[in-house]
């Protein structure tokens, strides 16, 4: 029996502490950007949300590989929740990015910008994951097809990232590079803590969702044991793993 709730309390405390410290650093420690001024503070929430969401999609693909290798349905559940959480973080990344674009460039969205459009493509690609699952009634087939989708789409994420990095014409700033980037020390520290906080939030919510789903499945199993098949309402078609 899986116990996803183990360690959830400690993880939640670590998340709240890190995010509180990160926000304090953002507003009371990190210097104002010479070019953008106060607007640049959005960077500390927008970029971690985008990075963590992309990592979440890749994680969903890794869990899907484990599902196809082991045929253990728990991996399908883990993959489903990882992608589900990444989508929520992506929505946050898109909205905060749009707000930043409006404040900085004067437009909510710039269609000529490869970084923005490619990120939107990734989000829209993964937005089809749930409808795909919902369209397949048989749970076994649903899990298998969803895993294949998660692997292919997950592999697309780094490829897409590299392609955009190689693109020439972009207005989106590049501050994080393999050679260290051009963030000054206090900004780098603030960004690192923010990224850690958002990553911990992702891990906490993933664990929280897994715990809730696990508790619900066990309740259903208990009902079946006590009342038999007649006592359990048949589940309708669902995008979520059963």
């Amino acid at each position: 029996m899986s116990t996803y709730g183990r360690g959830l309390r400690g993880l939640s405390i670590a998340t709240v502490t890190t995010i509180t410290v990160a926000f304090a650093l953002v507003f009371f420690y990190a210097p104002l950007d010479a070019d953008q001024g106060f607007i640049q503070k959005i960077f500390y929430i927008h970029v971690p949300l985008a990075i963590v969401s992309l990592c979440g999609y890749i994680l969903g693909g890794v869990f899907a590989v484990m599902h196809l290798r082991t045929e253990d349905r728990r991996w399908d559940m883990r993959s489903y929740v990882a992608i589900h959480m990444a989508l929520i973080f992506s929505i946050g990344g898109l909205i905060t990015g749009s707000i930043w674009a409006k404040a900085s460039w004067g437009h909510w969205w710039v269609w000529q910008e490869p970084t923005l459009v490619s990120y939107l493509i990734v989000v829209l690609l993964f937005a089809t994951y749930q409808p795909l699952r919902f369209s397949i009634e048989d749970p076994e087939r649903q899990a298998r097809y969803a895993s294949v989708f998660a692997i292919v789409a997950g592999a697309f994420v780094p490829l897409n990232f590299i392609a955009v990095r190689l693109a020439q014409g972009y207005v989106h700033p590049r501050v994080l590079t393999l050679t260290g980037g051009n963030l000054p020390g206090p900004m780098r520290l603030t960004f690192t803590v923010s990224l850690l906080g958002i990553a911990l939030l992702y891990a906490t919510l993933w664990k929280y969702e897994m715990t809730a789903k696990n508790a619900r499945m066990q309740t259903r199993r208990l009902r079946r044991m006590l009342l038999g098949e007649d006592g359990v309402k048949p589940l309708g078609r669902s995008a979520a793993p059963l």
Binding site: I39, I42, I95, T96, K102, L201, A212, A215, R216, T219
Partner: protein, 73 residues
């Protein structure tokens, strides 16, 4: 509190302030909405567990009264 605010490099509440506030409020709102949805699901699971508990108690009471009838008989 005043000294903390004074120590902050700047909290400009001009044009930039509303965008920065908006971005951070969006983040907090997303987390809060998610927690609210999870709370609803948790209460549903709790209700189902309560129903199961009632069923179990009713069964135990029925079994006990059956035993008493057998004992008297």
């Amino acid at each position: 509190m005043t000294s903390i605010l004074a120590a902050a490099p700047a909290l400009p509440l001009h044009a930039a302030g509303k965008y920065v506030a908006g971005a951070y409020i969006v983040f907090l709102a997303l987390v809060l909405v998610y927690v609210a949805i999870m709370a609803t699901r948790l209460s549903r699971t709790e209700r189902e567990l309560g129903e199961l508990m009632q069923d179990l108690q009713a069964r135990e009471q029925a079994a006990e009264s059956d035993r008493e009838v057998e004992h008297v008989g």
